[in-house]
C-alpha cells in the first residue's frame, strides 16, 4: 500500500497545476499525519491518502483545464503547457546537438515502423476492418459437412430446399452457383465468372445495384436469363455506359439483357463479373447425388451463430432420419463470412506481423542503447539539474520528452516509408484478398503507426530516464569531474541486458527464416515428373451452342493442333483437360473388367497424344496414345505408375481393360501404356492414380493447350493466339502462362513469407551485431583508464584483446541460449508452413547458433583491437 500510495500521490502531483501542488500535496500529507496521530494505523492512513489522491486526479485535471481557459487567448497558455513547450524545445536542441545519434535513432525506428505499419495495413484489412457489407458480422456461409473427415463442401439442392423451409435462424438465406461464360462483342472474347443467385441474395448481403435494379425470382422464368454486371466489367468492357440497362450483351453467344450494375469493388463471393438468377433444372433438383450450391445466409436479429449451428445440426439430423443412406455422415457447417474469406492468409499475415514486431523490438533495444550512451555523456548535466532543485520527475520528463520526440519523428518518417513498403508488398504479394478487403494506409492504420512510435519511445526512453534520475547527485558530479563520460557498472549491465535481448530475438527470427528456407529448398527439389521449362499453356473453351456435337468439337481440335504444329518454334503441341498445377482436376469412378469389386476413384484427363512429349513425361510400359486412337477405333487409355502400382500390384496393366463407370461412354477401354507419375495439385502432395484418355475419343469443350517450344515460350504467345482466332475469332483464350509459372505459383505464398521473414531476419542480425559492437566499444571506452594502466604495467596487447572478446562472447552465449529456447517455442507457430522439416530441426538451430556466435564475436573484434592498441601515456594524461 505504501508504494501504491506514493505512486498515486505522484500521479496527483503531476496532474495538478504547479502553483497548487504544494498546497494540495501538503494538505494531503498533513491530514495523513493527523490521522496517524489520532490513532489510525500507518497502513490505514496510507490507504486513505491513496484513495484521496486517485479520487482527486479528475478534479486536478479539470482544474488545470479550467485555468488554461480562464487565462484567455491573450494570456499565456498556462505554466504547464509552457514548461512542456520548454521541454520540447530543449529536446529538439539536444537532438540537433547530437545529429548522429538522432539520425541513427530516427532511421532505425522509421525502418521498423515503416515495415510494421505496412504489414499492419494487411492485417487490418483482412482481420479488423469492417467488410463492405451491411452488418457483415451477421453473414454466414453454410456448407454440407462430412462428420468423419471434418471437411465441408457444396450443398445438394433438395437439402437447401429443406433448410430454407425449416430454418428459423436466418432472416435471409440464398443459394448460389458458380460457373463461367464467354463474353463476346465487347473487346476480345473472354471468360467471365458468373454467379447464379436467388432473389434473397441482395438482402442477405445487404447490397443494392449502383445502376438499374436487382434480380428477382420472376427473372428466372425468362427464356434468356437477364444479368447484373460488376462495376469493373461495366467499366472495362462497356465504357461505363449509363444506358447499359437498355442494352443486351453477348454471353455464350446469346443476346442477354442487362438489368443493372453492382457497386464498385463488389464481387461477392469472389471476383464475380456477372450475376444472374439461379435456375435449377428439375432433373438436377431431383438428383439426390448432386452437390453444387453455395449457400449464404444472414442471421436473424437476436440469433447468435451458435443458436443457428444448433438448429442446423437438428435439421441435418432430420434429413438423415428421412434418408439414412444418402445423408450418412453429413451435417451442416456454418462459417462466419470473414473467417471464410481470410482463412488461407490469416495465419501467414499474423506470422509476418509477429516477425516484424520482433525486428521493431530489436530496433527499440538498439535505440535504448544509443540513448543510454548519450545519457551517460550527460551525467554531469543531470547532476547539476538535480543539484539546483530539479525534481527527479522533472529530469525524467525531460529525457522522456526527448524520446517521445524521436519516437514521433521516427513514426512520421515510418508512415511515409509504409506507403512505399505497402506498394512494393502488394506488387509482389501472391496473397489474394477478396474485393473490398484491399489493404490501405487509412486513418486507423496511420494512427497505429503513430501509436507504435510513441509506444516504442516509451520503451526505449524508459531506461535512459531511469538512469538519468538516480539519486547520487554528489557522486555523479564527482564522476563528471573525474572522467568526461562517467558511468556506473549498473548502466553497463543495463546495456548488456539489452544486447542479450537483441541477440535472443535475432535467433528467433533467424531460426524461422532458416526453417522456411529449408522447406522451400525441399519443395523446389521435389521431382514433379515432367519438365516445366519451355512449355506454354493456355485454356480455351468451345461454346456449347455452336459446338453442340462431338464431331464438331473433334474437328475443331484436330485442325487447331494441325495449325499449332506448323507454328515456328513449336516442338510439340499437345494439351490436356487439366495440366499440372492449373488448379483443374477431374475425377471419375471405374471398375476393372474381369474383377468383381466396388468402383474405385481416379483422376482422369483427356489428352492430345503429343501431351507426353510436350511435358516430357516418360513412358514406362506399353505405347503412347496416337492419332489413330480416334472415334472409330477401339477405346483405349493410358494410366500412370501410381495407378498401375495401386490397382495392378506386381502386374503389368498393359492389355487389361477398365470401365469408366461415371462417364457417358462406359465402354471398356484397353490400357495401352503406363506413363510416369506427375504431381498435379501441390508439391507437398504425392502423385495420385491417373487415367489418360485420347482427345479424339472424347472431344471435350474445355481444353488446356500445352506447347513445348524450342526457345522462350513467350515468343510464340501471339502466334498461338492467332492460330486459335483464325479458326474461330470468338473463342476466349485464357490464363496464357508458362508451365514454370504455374509450378512457381503453387509455392508463391511460401516464397513470399520466406522472402519477407528472411529480410526481417537479416535486419535483426544486423541490428544485433551493431548492438554487440556498440556495447563493447562503450565498455572499452569506460575502462580505457584501467586498460591503459594494465598495458603500462606490461600486459600483453593480445591478452587485452582476448579479455574484451571473452566478455563479448559471454553476452553472445547468453543471448544465443535464451534465443534458442525462445525459438523452440516460437517455431511451432510455423509448423503449418513447413514441409519436410521439423519445427525443431537441429540443423537449422545449429547453423543459426554457429552463424550468430561467430558474427557476434567478430563484432567485438574492432573494439578489442582498439583496446589493445591504446597508448597508455595518452590515456593517463587525459585524466
Amino acid at each position: 500500500v505504501t508504494v501504491l500510495h506514493r505512486l498515486a500521490r505522484a500521479l496527483l502531483s503531476a496532474a495538478l497545476p504547479p502553483e497548487l501542488r504544494d498546497a494540495v500535496i501538503g494538505d494531503l500529507d498533513d491530514e495523513m499525519r493527523e490521522r496517524i496521530d489520532a490513532g489510525a494505523t500507518r497502513h490505514a492512513a496510507a490507504a486513505w491518502s491513496m484513495r484521496q489522491s486517485l479520487g482527486s486526479i479528475p478534479a486536478a485535471l479539470r482544474l488545470r483545464a479550467g485555468r488554461r481557459m480562464a487565462a484567455g487567448p491573450a494570456g499565456s497558455k498556462g505554466e504547464a503547457v509552457h514548461s512542456l513547450w520548454q521541454d520540447v524545445r530543449y529536446a529538439a536542441r539536444v537532438a540537433r546537438k547530437t545529429p548522429l545519434v538522432t539520425i541513427a535513432a530516427v532511421t532505425t525506428l522509421a525502418l521498423g515502423i515503416g515495415a510494421t505499419t505496412a504489414i499492419f495495413s494487411i492485417v487490418h484489412a483482412a482481420l479488423i476492418r469492417e467488410l463492405p457489407f451491411h452488418e457483415p458480422d451477421r453473414i454466414v456461409n453454410i456448407y454440407e459437412s462430412f462428420r468423419s473427415s471434418l471437411s465441408r463442401g457444396v450443398v445438394n439442392p433438395s437439402n437447401f430446399d429443406y433448410w430454407e423451409r425449416h430454418a428459423t435462424s436466418f432472416s435471409h438465406i440464398t443459394p448460389m452457383r458458380t460457373s463461367s461464360a464467354t463474353l463476346t462483342g465487347a473487346g476480345d472474347p473472354t471468360r467471365v465468372s458468373v454467379q447464379a443467385v436467388g432473389e434473397a441474395f441482395f438482402d442477405t448481403i445487404g447490397v443494392r445495384p449502383a445502376v438499374g435494379r436487382q434480380l428477382n425470382d420472376s427473372d428466372a422464368d425468362e427464356s434468356t436469363l437477364p444479368v447484373l454486371l460488376s462495376h469493373e466489367l461495366w467499366r472495362t468492357r462497356f465504357g461505363a455506359d449509363p444506358a447499359i440497362t437498355s442494352r443486351t450483351i453477348m454471353l455464350n453467344d446469346a443476346a442477354t439483357p442487362v438489368v443493372g450494375v453492382m457497386p464498385a469493388g463488389f464481387g461477392f463471393p469472389h471476383n464475380t463479373d456477372v450475376w444472374m438468377p439461379l435456375r435449377i433444372p428439375a432433373s438436377q433438383r431431383a438428383n439426390a447425388r448432386s452437390w453444387f450450391l453455395g449457400v449464404v445466409a444472414r442471421l436473424r436479429p437476436g440469433i447468435e451463430i451458435d443458436d443457428a449451428r444448433a438448429e442446423m445440426n437438428r435439421l441435418a439430423q432430420e434429413l438423415q432420419q428421412a434418408n439414412p443412406a444418402r445423408q450418412k455422415d453429413r451435417g451442416a457447417s456454418l462459417v462466419p463470412l470473414r473467417e471464410d474469406l481470410v482463412f488461407r492468409i490469416a495465419e501467414g499475415v499474423l506470422l509476418l506481423q509477429g516477425a516484424v514486431a520482433l525486428v521493431l523490438l530489436i530496433a527499440v533495444a538498439n535505440i535504448a542503447n544509443l540513448l543510454l550512451a548519450r545519457g551517460a555523456a550527460r551525467t554531469r548535466e543531470f547532476g547539476i539539474r538535480t543539484a539546483v532543485g530539479a525534481s527527479r520527475w522533472r529530469v525524467a520528463r525531460l529525457v522522456l520528452t526527448e524520446s517521445v520526440l524521436l519516437g514521433l519523428a521516427g513514426a512520421v518518417v515510418g508512415c511515409v516509408l509504409a506507403v512505399y513498403n505497402l506498394r512494393a508488398l502488394l506488387a509482389f504479394s501472391p496473397l489474394q484478398l477478396p474485393p473490398g478487403m484491399e489493404p490501405a494506409l487509412d486513418m486507423p492504420v496511420l494512427m497505429f503507426g503513430l501509436a507504435t512510435g510513441v509506444a516504442a519511445s516509451a520503451l526505449f526512453g524508459l531506461l535512459p530516464a531511469l538512469a538519468a534520475t538516480r539519486r547520487d547527485v554528489a557522486a555523479r558530479l564527482q564522476a563528471g569531474a573525474l572522467t568526461s563520460g562517467g558511468s556506473s557498472p549498473r548502466s553497463t549491465h543495463l546495456r548488456s541486458g539489452l544486447v542479450i535481448a537483441e541477440l535472443a530475438l535475432a535467433v528467433v527470427l533467424l531460426v524461422g527464416a532458416g526453417l522456411l528456407a529449408r522447406t522451400f529448398l525441399r519443395l523446389m527439389s521435389q521431382d514433379v515428373g515432367f519438365t516445366s521449362t519451355r512449355v506454354l499453356t493456355a485454356m480455351t473453351t468451345l461454346p456449347a451452342a455452336r459446338y453442340d456435337t462431338a464431331e464438331k468439337r473433334s474437328a475443331f481440335w484436330e485442325s487447331l493442333f494441325e495449325r499449332l504444329a506448323t507454328v515456328p518454334g513449336v516442338v510439340a503441341a499437345g494439351g490436356s483437360t487439366a495440366v499440372p498445377f492449373s488448379n483443374f482436376e477431374w475425377q471419375t469412378a471405374f471398375t476393372i473388367v474381369g474383377r468383381v469389386d466396388t468402383p474405385h476413384g481416379t483422376s482422369i484427363r483427356t489428352v492430345h497424344p503429343k501431351y507426353f512429349e510436350a511435358l516430357g513425361i516418360p513412358l514406362l510400359a506399353g505405347r503412347v496414345l496416337s492419332p489413330a486412337d480416334n472415334e472409330t477405333a477401339e477405346r483405349v487409355v493410358m494410366v500412370n505408375g501410381t495407378f498401375a502400382r495401386t490397382f495392378f500390384p506386381g502386374v503389368n496393366p498393359v492389355g487389361e481393360r477398365i470401365r469408366l463407370t461415371s462417364e457417358k461412354d462406359a465402354t471398356p477401354a484397353l490400357i495401352v501404356g503406363v506413363a510416369g507419375d506427375t504431381r498435379h495439385y501441390r508439391l507437398t502432395e504425392p502423385p495420385q492414380p491417373e487415367v489418360y484418355r485420347p482427345l479424339m475419343q472424347q472431344a471435350p469443350s474445355l481444353f488446356v493447350l500445352a506447347i513445348r517450344t524450342s526457345d522462350d515460350p513467350r515468343a510464340v504467345m501471339s502466334l498461338v493466339r492467332s492460330a486459335v482466332r483464325q479458326l474461330d475469332p470468338d473463342l476466349p483464350i485464357e490464363q496464357m502462362k508458362t508451365l514454370s509459372e504455374l509450378v512457381a505459383g503453387t509455392v508463391a505464398d511460401r516464397r513470399f513469407y520466406l522472402t519477407l521473414i528472411g529480410f526481417f531476419a537479416l535486419a535483426a542480425l544486423m541490428l544485433a551485431l551493431i548492438g554487440v559492437y556498440a556495447v563493447m566499444a562503450y565498455v572499452v571506452g569506460q575502462r580505457s583508464r584501467e586498460i591503459g594502466i594494465r598495458l603500462a604495467l606490461g600486459a600483453a596487447p593480445r591478452d587485452v584483446r582476448l579479455q574484451v572478446v571473452r566478455s563479448a562472447a559471454v553476452l553472445v552465449l547468453v543471448g544465443l541460449a535464451l534465443g534458442a529456447g525462445a525459438a523452440l517455442l516460437a517455431s511451432r507457430a510455423l509448423a503449418s508452413l513447413l514441409f519436410g522439416v521439423a519445427p525443431h530441426d537441429p540443423l537449422t538451430f545449429a547453423a543459426v547458433v554457429a552463424l550468430l556466435g561467430l558474427l557476434g564475436v567478430a563484432a567485438a573484434w574492432l573494439p578489442a583491437r582498439r583496446a589493445a592498441r591504446l597508448d597508455p601515456l595518452a590515456v593517463l594524461r587525459t585524466e
Binding site: 496527483l12 498546497a23 494540495v24 500529507d29 484521496q52 482527486s56 478534479a59 486536478a60 482544474l63 480562464a70
Partner: protein, 107 residues
C-alpha cells in the same frame, strides 16, 4: 449583483470557508464539509471548487509560511469576500423564490 448563482457544491465549500474562518486551509475546509454533510469529499474536488470561487472573486487566498513539518510545502489559506457573502445570499434568495408557494405533499 443579483445575477450570481452558485452551484450546490460551491455553496457548500464557500459556507465551509466562512464557518472555519481564520484557519481555513484545505484540510480544515474538507473536514468541515465531511463533518457537517456526512459525505466523502476529495481534496482535489475542494481545490477545484475553491479555484472557481476565486475566479468569481468569492474567496481570496494567501500563502502561509512554508514549515518543515509539511516538508517545506506552504499552506494556502482562503477567506470569504464580501462578493462571496453577497453571492451566497443571492443564491439563497433565488432558491427561496423558486420554493415560494410550493407545498410538499407527504410522500
Amino acid at each position: 449583483m443579483g445575477q450570481t448563482y452558485l452551484g450546490e457544491f460551491e455553496q457548500i465549500v464557500l459556507l465551509a470557508v466562512w464557518r472555519v474562518g481564520e484557519d481555513a486551509y484545505g484540510v480544515r475546509i474538507r473536514q468541515e464539509i465531511e463533518a457537517r454533510t456526512g459525505r466523502a469529499v476529495t481534496i482535489g474536488a475542494v481545490y477545484a471548487t475553491l479555484d472557481r470561487l476565486a475566479l468569481k472573486r468569492c474567496v481570496k487566498t494567501t500563502l502561509g509560511e512554508p514549515t518543515a513539518a509539511r516538508g517545506g510545502r506552504a499552506k494556502r489559506y482562503y477567506s470569504i469576500t464580501r462578493t462571496g457573502m453577497a453571492a451566497l445570499e443571492d443564491t439563497r434568495q433565488q432558491l427561496a423564490r423558486m420554493w415560494h408557494g410550493l407545498r410538499r405533499e407527504p410522500l
